[in-house]
Structure formats: structure tokens, C-alpha cells
Amino acid sequence: MPQASEIAWLIPVFPLIGAVLSGLGLISINKKINNSREIVSVGLISFVGISAVISYKALIEQVNGYQSVEKLFVWANAGDFTIPMGFVLDPLGSVMLALVTTITLLVMIYSHGYMAHDKGYVRFFTYLALFSSSMMGLIVSPNLLEIYVFWELVGMCSYLLVGFWYDRDGAAHAAQKAFVVNRVGDFGLLLGILGLFWATNSFDFNEIAIGISQSISENSIPIWAALLLCFLVFLGPMAKSAQFPLHVWLPDAMEGPTPISALIHAATMVAAGIFLVARLQPLYSIFPSIQFIIALVGSITCFLGASIALTQMDLKKGLAYSTVSQLGYMMLAMGCGAPVAGIFHLVTHACFKAMLFLGSGSVIHAMEEVVGHQPVLAQDMRLMGGLRKKMPYTSTTFLIGCVAISGIPPLAGFWSKDEILGNAFISFPAFWFVGLITAGMTAFYMFRLYFLTFEGDFRGENKELQKELLIASKTNLDEENEEEHKEHGSIHESPWSMTFPLVFLAVPSVIIGFMGLPWDSKIANLLDPEEAEIASKAFELIEFLPLAIASVLIALAGIIVAYQAYFIKKINLSVLFAEKFPSINHFLSNKWYLDDINEKLFVKGSRKLAKEVLEVDSKVVDGVVNLTGLVTLGSGEGLKYFETGRAQFYALIVFGGVILLVAIFGFQSPQVS
């Protein structure tokens, strides 16, 4: 059997085959395939499963020191240009592949339960397979151009999946917003890629870095141009990884089914931006100012996400802003020149955030039995509470996730977040401070979510509250929903297919942190052995402890405040804080007004501009045409008498004109030639 690293190109191919098969089936034999949904889902899960096996084998090979594999072929050529495509498998790729295939598999199993009653079950699985294929393709891409290709494809899958319930207006708008905002980033990414190709004649990550540094030392391209290109390329990751100010699409994307929020909008696709920045480290490390911008954007995002999460009442939106914040941490790591720390956090975060999202899905699934399929109700924490007793698996795993993300040792989040904060402390102390504050906020809002959802008394039966919420959200209750309201179920634990992934993910959420112990980091050994050796030698407990203790203390403080406020209700935050500083409260609950700005400035602005252009087109440009038509109609009346109607006469005129033309220019020709 060949080495898995050598056949890594097969990894994206298997899910693709599955997606194409079931997609064709959906188009041609729609009814039959919808009736045999289990066969389709088992088939697709096994296709992804094969990819997972190859991925793990490749990871083991890479851990054991097998060389990186890169194979290319000419995809397009013209003149002297060739555009190569192919695949690469290196340690970074193998880690990502293992992560993505694992989470995809778990989410697929989960979806079997979550989507069981949905009429789009098969379509959902097809999209999932298509997404996993694109995501794996992105990871094995050997150059920027191929990354761009898959980058767009994962964006497309995200579009399809966010808009999965296409009868909901919210989903339709969110899907479009996600795609367009990402295209804004891709605009920069594409221009950056083109510019870098112009400057270095290459799409390859390393060759670009070498080429740029050479060109700068030879002064063949101005430094501002190089900086601009680097920044343009960074716009792509900013959009995909939901960095300020292009993060606006991610919270809206929660309109998609919850398994999608877990897979695409928490664990994998949004991490693609971080991954690309990691791939481009050779380039970015040349320019400290770009590194600073990355770190700055990262820390703004990190703080912004956490601060908005403080006031969210929608369980999924709260988690979404938490994702924004955590992605900010990863970007901060990249800006600090510590890609290993960033990727480490990416891995740990993927585990516990996927688990948290799947847990929230489990909660929503249960809530829908009581309040109906109205996201405004089913996801609102004001209607939850006391779910712990009825949903033991969900609540326990959710609690583990909260502890992990808050950075309490020895769970996963502590090690990775601390690694980032440690690096930030060395590179940009100010950003370290932001990160530290955010850590406290993280612990607070996560435990706020936990206490509101799982502790206290169940508030879901409160009809008054439900009505208030519906009125507040301006959702019109049509008859269909009224009916759903009548059927009353009770809260119960989700089926095994949903709890199994939760329990499975709880394990790495607890222990995966040990992969990256600062004194003996296995993940650093794999990704960057030289750096890892230096780091482990330079490690000193005295340096490590103060920072670690500071971040643990602030996290504990956050948890204690949340406990006081939402569990034993000793302090009333709304009296203590919200009423005293109403402006800050408004600022936060309106999400820093960024959505409003976006809506007013860009959405309405572009509509207005388009309308004006259309006016010009139909009134001015076409107006001139129609006016000419009228004028000629008038003059035609006059000319009528001039026309003899004899073809020879017209031919004579035309011929005469041509002779004249030739006479004018024909005689000049000898002088020129």
C-alpha cells in the first residue's frame, strides 16, 4: 500500500464523488433517493470516513517524520505563463485534515438525528459532503491560486447551507450577506494574488516570500507596493475568519441549521482564514508592519466579539460572537509571529466550540418541542433554564466546553490560549492586556450562557414572555406557527446520534491541551521542530507562572460574577450596570452599531447607486437613442423625396464614398511603407 501522504489528493476526491452521486440522484430520481435517505447518509459518511482514515494515516506518517509531499501539473498555460495545480501534504496540512475529517464525521452523525424530520435530509448530507470535499481541497492546496479556488467553493457551500431553509426570509438574507461580505474579502485576496504573481511570477507560498524579499532588496518593487499586496491578501482571511470589520456575516449565518454552525461557522471554514495566514507566514514575517496590522485586527476582533457576546440573549448568537472573539485570538497569534500557537488554538477551539454548538443544537431541538419551530423562541435563553436535569449529557458536555473555553487548567483552552497570550506579552504587551481582559469576559459570558440555559427553573411555558419576544422580533405569527404552538411536548434528552458526538468531542476538549504543553509541545514539534526546541529550552516556570496565574484568576473572576448574577442571583447586573451606563449597554446590545452602519452605508448605498445608474441608462443613454430615432423619423419625411428608390443609385453613393476614402489614404501608403 502506498504511503498515505503520497495519495493525499484522494482525500478531497472521495467526498466529492459521494456528493456528485447523491446530487445527480436528487436531480434525476428525487423521490426514490429521498425515500432511501439512510442509504445515502451512510454512503456519504463512509466516503468521508475513507478520507478520515487516509488523513489519520498521513498524520501519523508526518509525526513519524515522513517528508512533505508536493505534486503539481500544468492546469492552464498561455505564452510563457503556466498556472500549476496539484496537492501538498505537510505537517500543517495533515493536522488540519485530521481535524476537519473528524469533526465532519461527527457532525454528519449528529445531523442524522438533528435533521431526521427535515424533508431536505438528503440535500443536507449532499451539501455536507460537498463542503467537506472543498475544505479538504483547500487544505491540500499547494499554491495561492488553488487555495482561492477552494476558498470560493467553501464559501459557496456556506451560502447553500446557510440558506438551507430557503423558505425563511432570514436565512435567505443571511446566506446572501455571507457570500457578498466574503466576496469583499475575496476582492482583496484576488487582487493580492494577482499582484504577488506579477511581482514574483509565482503562486507558491515560499517562492512568493523569497521573490518578494529579493525584489525589495534589489529595489525592483517599491516597499509600499509589497505592503499593499500583503494587506490585500490579508483581506481574504479577514472576511473568511470574521475579523473586524468584516465579521458582520458570521452571526447572521447562524440562520443555517445548527450542525452547520458547528462545522462550518465554528470549527472548519472560518478557520480557513487562520490557515491561510499560517501558510503565508514566510511572506508576512518579512514585514513587521503587516504583522502589527494582523495582531491589531486580531485583538480588536477578540475584544469586540466578547463584548457583544455579553448581552446576547440568543444562545446561538452568543456562541457565534464567542467564535468571532476566539478567531480574534488566533489572528492575534498570527500577528505575533506565533503560527504554531494560533494553529494549536484553532485545533482546541474546533473541538470545544463544535461541541458547544452541537450542544446548543441539542438544546434547541428539545426546546422546539415546547415552543415550536420559531428560532426567535427556540433559541432565546429567556425561555430556557433548568434543562440540566432533563438533558444530562448535553448539560455536562456543555459545561466541559465552558470550562475549556474559559481557560481553566488543565482543559484544552487553557493551554492554547495561554500560549497565545504568552506570545502576545512578548511581542505586543498592549494586545496581551486586551487578550487578558477578553479572557475574563469570555469566562463570564460562557458561564452566563450555561447558567441561563441549564440552571434555575424552566421558563419555556411562559406564554406572556413568548408573545413579548415575538412582538419584539417583529415576527408575524401565521397560522402554521399557531398550529405548532398547540402541540406540546416536553424537554427530553436528544437521541444517541446527537449525544454521541457531544460525548466524543468532550474527550479532546479535556485532554488535547496536553499536545501543546509549553515545555514539551508535541504540536510544535510537528509543525516547526526548530522553533519547538528553542521554545522548550527557553521555557522557565518562573516566566510561565505569573502570566498563567493572571489569566486563570481573571477567568475565575468572570465565572464568579456569572455565578453570582445568573445562578444564585445575588447581584443584579441590569441594576448594577445596565441602568447606570445605558449608553454602553445600548452600544453592546446594538453590536457596536456595525450592522446598522453596514446596512445604511453599503446595502442602501449600493442600491441607491444602482438605481441612479439605471435611471441614467434608461433616461439619458437610451433617451438620446430614442430622440435620434424621432429626429431621423422627421428628417426622413423630408428626405423621402430625395430618395429615388433605385438600388443602383445607393450603390453609386456608397461606391463613391469608398473611392474617396481610398483616394485619400491610398496615395499616402508608399511614403509610410
Binding site: F197, V613, L614, S669
Partner: protein, 534 residues
Amino acid sequence: MLGTLGAGLSNFPWLSASILFPIGSSFVIPFFPDKGDGKEVRWFALSIALITFLITVGSYINGFDISNENVQLKENISWLPDLGLTWSVGADGMSMPLILLTSFITALAVLAAWPVKFKPKLFFFLILVMDGGQIAVFAVQDMLLFFLTWELELIPVYLLLAIWGGKNRQYAATKFIIYTAGSSIFILLAALAMGFYGTEIPNFEFSHLAAQDFSQKFQILCYVGLLIAFGVKLPIVPLHTWLPDAHGEATAPVHMLLAGILLKMGGYALLRFNAQLLPVAHAQFAPLLIVLGVVNIIYAALTSFAQRNLKRKIAYSSISHMGFVLIGIGSFSSLGTSGAMLQMVSHGLIGASLFFLVGATYDRTKTLKLDEMSGVGQKMRIMFALWTACSLASLALPGMSGFVSELMVFTGFVTDEVYTLPFRVAMASLAAIGVILTPIYLLSMLREIFFGKENPKLIEERKLIDAEPREVYIIACLLLPIIGIGLYPRLVTESYIASINNLVDRDLTAVKGAVKTNIFSGTKTNEILKAPKI
């Protein structure tokens, strides 16, 4: 044995056959019994269109050598020697893909015209005449003959618009014919001027004209005339206003032909005449082409966004996509120019598929106003899927042909050392705005048609049936090459790359000549054309 067979096949007059066969066969149609439903005519037209497609494929396989940059499959018969008119056909890399595209799209258009019940005999007669006529436009190697075929194709389009169009069909058809016929005067003038240039006996053969050394002023004059003529066809903003009307009124099959093939005549002719025969003038005007291309992309994208009529929306999106053809033609790089070629092929496929879907949707909803649709996707799920796939192709999703062609145009233009760096940066950035605008209008369109709650009025009044197999088949036929090219563009680019390289070399020599001898010193274009110091 096989050798002689091969030799026999390569002597077969492939191109004449592909032109004359559909036209000749169409004259059988009037003799069909008039039963009213046109069933026989449909099948007859479909088989003729398919055979024509096979003939063009045969010519590509048997008589066309992709490594040869010269005109192949030549046939030369003196027709009217007194006028210097010869029946001269042939194909090089620039013609061949478009000939194949024409016969392919026409065959699908015939299949798309299945529901045409009004005067089916005349309809299919015109379609078949158009098939031959359009192949002729791409295959002729004589400028006078080119003018004749260019005009010939106007008549069936005019009739197809005027008889089978929508409410405003008379206005649209008249506008179309005035625009195109009016502008093609310039083709005739330029053809006569070029044919008589420097000789007593006129000669309109491309090969003869290409060997001519036209004076610079003469070239510029001809160039401007031809640019107007072809700019109407492509179309170039602000010469475009016939298109939304014509496209807005045409029925789906005619629509497919208009968008799939007719627009390409403009791009092809720009390459063939402006870029190939008038290189010195091209060196001066290329920057203008780039600017016009960028204007096309942004202006039409914005107009499309504001359009509330589905057909006109897609019509404007066609104009927007043609902007990339202009940029590619003006790029002086073989990557960019071959991107322009690929964009023509790609848009031929994507445009045809979208226009077909518009027609198919209209058959069901009986309205094209976006405000009157909503939530259609719940009843027409397969149609929704087809729409989504074709819209994604149109917004240049990777893995589909539109992405490759736009990427090639971008890359070719950006890496092109003929233009100064600021000019390239500015133009590439502006053109890339199209990357943002295209999904805005296409996805908004999808959202308004298919997403959201069902429009109760529409559901009540219309029976929304999902796509039938014939429709799925047509879209599948179009998506297959779209995805094929997207995955492996060399499928198509290899067929014309030799000719394009040749063309670009010629143009580059002209540019270098212009810069070296400084003929245009003092003109503004020269500033732009100077090689940047980097």
C-alpha cells in the same frame, strides 16, 4: 485503408458543408404538411441542427491541427471575380471554438424551442438559416463575404424578434435592426477601403489584408469605424441600449442564440479585424478598450442590480461579462487574449443557460417582474437547483468556466508590461469590483425569485410545475462543458492558443514599433503605452 479514409475526410469541404447544409435543409421546411402543431418540423429541425453540430465536430477532429496557428480547412472558390468576391472559408484557432459553440448552442436552442406553437415552420426555418449564417460569420476568410454574412444573419433575428417577441417586440426589433444595420455600414466602408487599398484589383481575403502594410492614419480611421460596428454588437457601453430591449422581448430559444452566439460575433470581429488586421491602430486604441471594458463591467452590473425585470437583469449581466472580453483583447498578452476567447465561449454557454432558464421560468410564472415572484423554490425545487448552478457559474465560481476566463484576463492584464503600473493597478482594481457586484445582483435575484415565503397570488393563479426532463437535459448539456472547462481549461484553450500567440506577437511588435520610433509622441495614449520602469 485508414490512411486513404483519413485523406478523404480531410479533403471533405467541412466548413462549406456546415454552412450550406442547415441553410439548404431549411428550404425543405415549407414543403412540410401544415398540421399546425409542428411536431414533424421540430424533429426535422433538431436532426438538422444535430447533424450540423456533428459536421462541425468532424471538421475539428479531421481537418484541424491545434498546433498550427494558420488558417486551416481552407476552401477557395472564385464567386464573383469582377467584384473580387470569393467564397473563401477556413478556420483558425479564433474561429474554430466559436464555430463549435454556434452549432452546439443552436442544437440546444432547437430543443429549447419545443413549446413554440405559433408558426413553427417559419420559426425553425429561420433558426436553421441562422445556424448556417452564423457559422459562416466565423468561418469566412474574405472581408466582403464577412459583411454579407453579417448582414444575412440580421434578417432571421429581426423576424424572430418581430414575430415571436413579447409585447414590445416591434419596437425592440426595429431598434435592433437600425442599430446593427446602421453600424454595419462601417464594416462595408472599411471592407471596401481595405480591399481597394494600394491595388487596382480589389482583394478582400484576410490573408491578403493581413499582409498589407496599411498606413497609420488609414488604420486608425478603419479601426474607429469597425470599433463602432462591433461595439454595437458586443455591446460596448454606451452603444448597448438595443440589447436589453431585444433580449427583453425575445423568446427563450432566440434569447439563447442572441446571448450565446450573436454577442460573440462582436468579440470575434474585434479580434479578427481590429487586433489582427490593424495592429498599429490597435496599439493606440487598446487602452481605450480596457477602459471601456471596465466601464462595461461596473456600469452594467449596477444597472442589472437595479433592474426589476428578470430578462433585462440577465441581459445587463451579459453586457457586464462582455467587459472582460474587451479587457482581454486590449491586454497585449497571450494569457489575457486567450482569456477573452475563453470568456466568449464560457459566456456563450452560461448566458445561453441563464436565458433558457428565464424562458422556462416565465412559461410557468407568466411574469418577469421580480416583485411578483417569491418563494417559487418551494414548488420548483429542481428548477431552483438549476438556477443556482447557472447563477454560480455566472458569478465566476471556481470550478466553472467563467472563473477561469476572468482569471486569465486578470492575470494577463496585470502581468502585462506594456501598460504602466498605475494604469494596471487602477483598471484591475476597478474591474475587480465586478467580483463583488456580480454576486450582489445574481444572489439578490435568486433570493427574490426562490427564497422566502411563497407569493400567495402567484401560487393561486399559476401552476408551478417543476422542471421537466427536457429542460434538465438542456441545462445539463450546457453545464457539462462549463464545469469541464472550469476543471481543465486546456480542453478549450489548446485549440486556439497557437493562433492567439501569433496574434499577440503581431500586436506586440506593433506596440514596440510605436514606442521605439515614437510615432505617437505627444499623444496621451503613448504615455500609457510606455513600458513601466520597474
